[in-house]
Amino acid sequence: MKLIHCADLHLDSPMGTHMDAAQASKRNTEIIHSFLRLAEYARENAVRAVLIAGDLFDGERVTRRTVEEILDAIVKTPEVDYLYIPGNHDGAARALSDRALPPNFIRFPKQWKTVTYGDIAVSGIEMCRENAESLYGTLPQPEGATHIVMLHGQVGTASGEDLVNLPLLQNRGIAYLALGHLHSFCVNRLDSSGVYAYCGCLEGRGFDECGPKGFVLLEAENGKVTPTFVPFACRELHRVDVDITGLQKNAQIFQAMQEAAKGISREHMVEFLLQGHTSLDTDISVDYLQNLIGDRFFFTKVKNLTTLALDPKDYENDISLKGEFIRLVMSSDRSEEEKARLLRLGLLALAGEELSL
């Protein structure tokens, strides 16, 4: 039997990439459509149930249109059950209020509930302050079934509203602990007979969610559950470091950025972090580089994190305004990055060149 473990879709959540309104809207639509694709995938691959381990929505931001699209996808795949536990971001209780919920959409309450598919039993509970401590004592123990448990929280050794106390779940006959909360895939052993896994989010939203995103495909057979991560995001986010030490011109830096991003699909989103040391002669314009690289990917962002390779002693005897300015900046207690920006800006102004902020 096949099951899908997904979580942290955060539908309608804000984009953390500083996209413009049009791009953010498009990206949000893509995230919703990823769930629709997932439903289609489940139907086509004879998946019996999709386990949604929390944070389907994103707090108060959930809109009616999104809820309708999700429920519509569930209705269209009646052969697949959708087992859903609300997470800490599913605060908008009204999202599913007054909805004719399809029979294949099963929402787990704040008490344990178990759904059985042959010899597979899936138990879940919506974690809250009231049951945060007690839920471990009331964990169901389905006889003779391969037990899968769904929870939403950060694993640890303590109990809490969004804390999953792993020791209390060990040796409780859990074959697979399907978790949600962390946005990157990871799988670890729970005890001698079971594992726990975070499936990660379905689509990345900010550059702190780089890398492949998707869901975990579970194959349960003979009392054993085999998890396999399936990358499923329509776009990936990449953070690319570009060392521009020794490069003098924007064209050279642009070339270095292109080299560093080689192999990344045009459909992905890339953040370039310019690293290394630059000199006063380095012609570097973040805006210009942003414009140059902008149309190479779905979304790009350029950050200048370089520092100035400048020795204050070189300007000790320079009685020019430039020398005096450099001495003043270098002797100030500003950060290296800020000093670099001040120096670059002041010298550009004195040289009568276009100011790059």
Partner: protein, 1054 residues
């Protein structure tokens, strides 16, 4: 760098000016207004071109130094730099784009490219403003900040390596511009991005939207509750509907049972009805066809009886019975009548022919004519002669009518007779008029030529206005000329100024009081009264200080004019008198010399023209008198013949023509009267002859033509009637022979039918007989038809009665309709019995086990009421839900905006944060650059200060306590314990200070190279002592660099 020579083509007041410069000190002693400042500006313009800092004359050099004389704007300057001689030539156009620049290497004698148009910057490393401030010292003190950025750059000696300090202003401007574009402003002491307002608005909108969430949640909760209630109601409704269904089943069974009973009853009832009917008809029922046939018989019987009853004997039966004896064979009678009619028509035709040939009125007419013409009518020849006489008479009348003047001629004759009622003018009178007219024309031409030519007349008019207030004498004008020369002399003296130094006088009164108080104080001390003594001594000290203080102040330089007070008054009086004199004749009094020349010339011309004009005026007067006299004579003659009409100068020829026309018209009128009398005599003879002829035949009318025509007509008619009377008399006998047999045949026929009446026309008698025959025929036909109808109806009645009697004997008594009704009822009952039996069988087949049911459910009405209550409750819940959902949707619609609002806010916050960061970066950069510049400035202030003190020591000889010099090179001098601005000192001291400052500045600016120094009479405010010292300094400086000293007073020359 040494200036060698310059040539000014045109530049401000200077035109065609050349000047040689010596390597050391060049002194140019020129009077006031010569253009010393212009020369200095020209030198600057040769190096830098013309500057423009604004549109005013002061700030726009192109306007300010535009040549007064016009011509080519510019010139050249020769100078030596780096061991090479150059000539720079610049000419200036209306705009900078039209300026020209050329540089020649005079050493090589070829064009040079050693320097560009930015010659000044390349040579001195100073911009134009800095050059002016440092190397050009004007007459007027300028104690303001002297350090432009360019001077600062030069002072810090950085120009050779970098241009960054020169770019300081540009850099700061670029940074400020960039900061301005960021959209960040200072509000309430803190920086806020301009998007803050928008962000606040969004925050408020978001807060407002978020405040709806609790309400939305509450509504959602209520919706859930209502949904639960709706589910419960739905379940109850479902139960009650099940009960209603069961009750409906019970009712259905009961209904079936009732229906079966009803059907059975119907079969039974039908059978009973059939039995009862059969009992009334033991002989059975006749076929319906037989009944129908008997009904038709009854109908025929009724109709025939009614018809027979309605028949009546015709009214004209008598006529028919009588006619059958008179007209035994009507057809033959008819044929005989037709034949008789034909004969009657023929007889009428013959009678008509006889009557038509001679009408009675013709006979009356002939009788009347015979009475008029007892001897017969006049013959044709006599009547023709009468007609010829009448035509001749008519011709004579036409000729008489034509023998008169035409209407136009008659009108003209009347007009002319009126005009010349006093007699026709003689030829001598007319000739005299023509001579008068010619003389008048000659006089007018002569008067026209007696006036000034047009140009002279215009000049005379203009001069008359000029001298409207009187013509000045030549002596007056000469006197004003002398006055004008005196004024020029006095003004020259007035513009020459003398300078003298005055020491302030001591104030004697306070000194005297001070001495007295001191003596009194000393006396009090002697008398051992120290306190009052000390007070008096203190007062004495103050009084002495007040008296002696003016003596300690610097001597005052007084500038006075070379003209005396009396001369000044004379100058004023003379200028006023001259201006008054000139303004009597001209609109302004500018350029009096020229105006006086004009006045002399205009006076002579005016006097000449005035004399000429007077001469012409006398001649004109005599001529006009003669013209008037002759004109009046002509007008009087004209008025005699043309009273009340406007005068026409060419009237003489018209008058002559009209007199001739009158004579001719009178002659023509006499001839026509004679001819008319002759024609009248002929006409009277002819008329008498015609009247006599006509009266002979009874025509006595006055109209001869009409009487002749009547006579002609009557004569022709008399002849016609005479001829016709003869012809009719011969034809009457023949017609009478043909009519006789016809009359006899007609009379025989009428007598055969006993209807002949003598005297009555045959046609009328035949018509009566035909009418009698036709009446007989109609009456005979009607009588025959009546008899046939009566016989037929009687036969029909008899046959019907027989049939009815036979039917009644076969089916028993009773009416035919009753029998038919029973027969039909029997058939219908049979049919109904079959149908009821079949319906019962069908029902029993469909409902095999009908029985009366029994149920404990409430009746259906009760259940329906319960269901209605539940449905109403459910509807109410539905309405509540609908209302809640509507509210929910509305709120949800608003809440759905939260993501968009949050995203917008995040974007605005991000952009605002970014703008603030950039603003901070730009501000930090600007602050640091400003600090760097200030740090550098402190480096050159010391040098300038040292040099300044060196010069000040020489010029002011230790009068200065101390000085303060800031980075802007603004000078403050300590005086009486406080730093004071240069402007606070006397003009002489201020000029001395600024001279020292400029010299120090030049020394600091150019420690190595030696650019020229241009001084535009800077010592004008210095006293003799200081002027002497300044000139000594100048001589000393000129040993090391070229100095061009422009001065207007020989007392200040070196």
């Amino acid at each position: 760098m040494i200036l060698k020579r310059c040539h000014i083509e045109n530049f401000g007041t200077l035109s065609g000016f050349d000047c040689e410069f010596t390597p050391g000190l060049t002194v140019l002693l020129r009077e006031n207004g010569f253009g010393k400042s212009t020369l200095a500006a020209f030198i600057k313009a040769m190096f830098y071109g013309l500057q423009k800092d604004g549109n005013s004359l002061e700030k726009n050099e192109r306007k300010r130094f535009e040549p007064w004389q016009g011509g080519k704007f510019g010139g050249f300057l020769e100078f030596s730099a780096n061991g090479t001689d150059y000539r720079v030539t610049r000419f200036f156009g209306k705009t900078a784009a039209k300026d020209s620049f050329s540089l020649w290497n005079l050493t090589k004698g070829s064009p040079s490219t050693d320097f560009s148009e930015q010659l000044g910057e390349s040579l001195f490393h100073l911009d134009a403003k800095s050059f002016a401030r440092s190397t050009y010292l004007s007459q007027f003190s300028d104690s303001g900040p002297a350090a432009t950025t360019s001077i600062q750059a030069k002072l810090t000696d950085l120009v050779e390596d970098t241009s960054d300090l020169l770019n300081f202003d540009t850099a700061m401007k670029a940074l400020k511009d960039a900061r301005k574009k960021l959209g960040v402003s200072q509000k309430a002491g803190s920086l806020v991005p301009n998007t803050r307002e928008e962000l606040l608005a969004l925050e408020m909108e978001l807060a407002d939207t978020q405040s709806r969430i609790p309400e939305l949640d509450e509504i959602c909760r209520r919706i859930d509750e209502e949904n639960a209630a709706a589910a419960r109601e739905s379940q109850a409704l479902s139960q009650i509907r099940d009960q209603i269904h069961q009750a409906a089943q019970f009712e259905k069974q009961a209904l079936a049972y009732q229906q079966e009973q009803v059907r059975r009853q119907k079969v039974s009832d039908t059978k009973s009805d059939i039995s009862a009917l059969d009992a009334r008809h033991p002989q059975g029922y006749p076929p319906l066809k037989e009944i129908e046939l008997q009904k038709q018989h009854t109908l025929l019987l009724d109709r025939a009886a009614a018809h027979l009853h309605s028949l009546s004997r015709p009214e004209n039966a008598e006529i028919a019975e009588t006619g059958r004896q008179r007209f035994p064979n009507p057809e033959q009678t008819s044929r005989e009548l037709e034949e008789a009619q034909r004969k009657c028509t023929l007889l009428e035709t013959l009678t008509a022919q006889q009557g038509a040939q001679w009408l009675p009125q013709e006979a009356d007419q002939l009788e009347a004519l015979n009475r008029r013409f007892p001897n017969g009518a006049p013959g044709k020849e006599e009547r023709a002669q009468l007609a010829r006489n009448l035509r001749q008479l008519q011709d004579l009348q036409i000729q008489m009518d034509a023998a008169v003047l035409s209407a136009d001629d008659r009108l003209e004759l009347d007009t002319l007779e009126t005009r010349f009622s006093r007699g026709l003018p003689t030829e001598a009178d007319l000739t005299a008029c023509e001579q008068n007219r010619e003389a008048l024309r000659a006089l007018r031409q002569k008067a026209e030529s007696c006036r000034l030519p047009q140009e002279e007349e215009a000049s005379y008019e203009a001069l008359r206005r000029t001298f409207a207030s009187g013509v000045p004498s030549e002596e007056d004008i000469q006197a004003q000329r002398q006055s004008c020369r005196r004024i020029a002399q006095l003004e020259g003296r007035k513009s020459t100024k003398t300078t003298q130094v005055e020491k302030p006088p001591l104030k004697k009164a306070p000194i005297l009081i001070g001495i007295l108080l001191a003596l009194a104080g000393a006396a009090l001390f002697l008398f051992r009264l120290p306190v009052p003594g000390a007070v008096l001594l203190a007062a004495a000290s103050i009084s002495l200080i007040l008296g002696l203080l003016p003596g300690t102040q610097s001597p005052r330089t007084v500038t006075t004019s070379a003209i005396t007070q009396e001369e000044n008054q004379e100058l004023y009086d003379r200028k006023s008198a001259l201006e008054d004199f000139l303004l009597r004749f001209y609109q302004d009094a500018q350029e009096p010399d020229t105006k006086l020349d004009w006045l002399l010339r205009d006076r002579d011309q005016y006097l000449r023209l005035r004399e000429q004009q007077a001469r012409y005026s006398g001649q004109q007067e005599a001529l006009q008198k003669e013209i008037l006299e002759k004109g009046q004579r002509l007008r009087a003659f004209y008025a005699a013949y043309f009273p009340g009409r406007p005068y026409d100068p060419g009237f003489v020829s018209a008058l002559r023509q009209q007199a001739q026309a009158l004579t001719q018209l009178r002659l023509r009128q006499g001839n026509l009267l004679a001819r008319r009398k002759e024609l009248e005599a002929q006409a009277a003879a002819l008329r008498h002859q015609a009247k006599e002829f006509l009266s002979r035949y009874g025509q006595t009318g006055t109209d001869l033509a009409e009487a002749a025509a009547a006579l002609d007509r009557d004569s022709a008619r008399w002849e016609q009637l005479k001829e016709k009377q003869a012809a009719v008399r011969s034809a009457a006998a023949e017609i009478q022979a043909q009519a006789q047999p016809l009359e006899e045949a007609l009379q025989a026929l009428l007598e055969a039918y006993n209807c002949f009446t003598p005297g009555v026309p045959y046609a009328e008698q035949l018509s009566s007989l035909r009418r009698q025959l036709d009446s007989f025929r109609q009456a005979d036909t009607a009588l025959r038809q009546y008899e046939d109808a009566v016989a037929k109806d009687r036969q029909t009645v008899e046959a019907a009665q027989k049939n009815l009697q036979r039917f009644a004997s076969a089916w028993g008594p009773g009416t035919l309709s009753q029998l038919e009704a029973d027969t039909r009822a029997r058939l219908q009952l049979e049919q109904a019995l079959v149908e009821h039996t079949q319906d019962l069988e069908t029902f029993l087949n469909q409902n095999p086990h009908t029985e009366c049911p029994a149920s404990d459910l409430p009746d259906q009405d009760t259940l329906n009421r319960q269901e209605a209550q539940l449905r109403a409750q459910s509807d109410e819940t539905g309405k509540t839900l609908s209302s809640l959902r509507e509210k929910r949707n509305r709120l949800q619609h608003q809440v759905d905006r939260i993501p968009a609002l949050q995203d917008q806010m995040a974007a605005l916050e991000e952009s605002g944060k970014d703008a603030l960061e950039k603003y901070s970066l730009l501000t930090g950069t600007m602050d640091l650059l400003e600090t760097a510049r200030e740090n550098l400035a402190t480096g050159y202030v010391g040098t300038v200060k040292t040099k300044f003190l060196t010069y000040a020591d020489t010029l002011l000889q230790g009068q200065l306590d101390g000085i303060l010099l800031d980075k802007e090179l603004t000078l403050h001098v300590d005086a009486q314990g406080e730093p004071r601005e240069v402007a606070a000192f006397s003009a002489g001291t201020a000029d001395s200070l600024m001279l020292c400052m400029r010299l120090a500045l030049v020394d600091a600016l150019f420690p190595g190279e030696k650019p020229c120094l241009i001084l535009d009479d800077p010592f004008v405010n210095l006293d003799d002592d200081h002027t002497k010292k300044a000139l000594e300094i100048l001589k000393e400086i000129s040993k090391g660099r070229q100095v061009i000293y422009l001065v207007c007073n020989s007392s200040r020359t070196v």
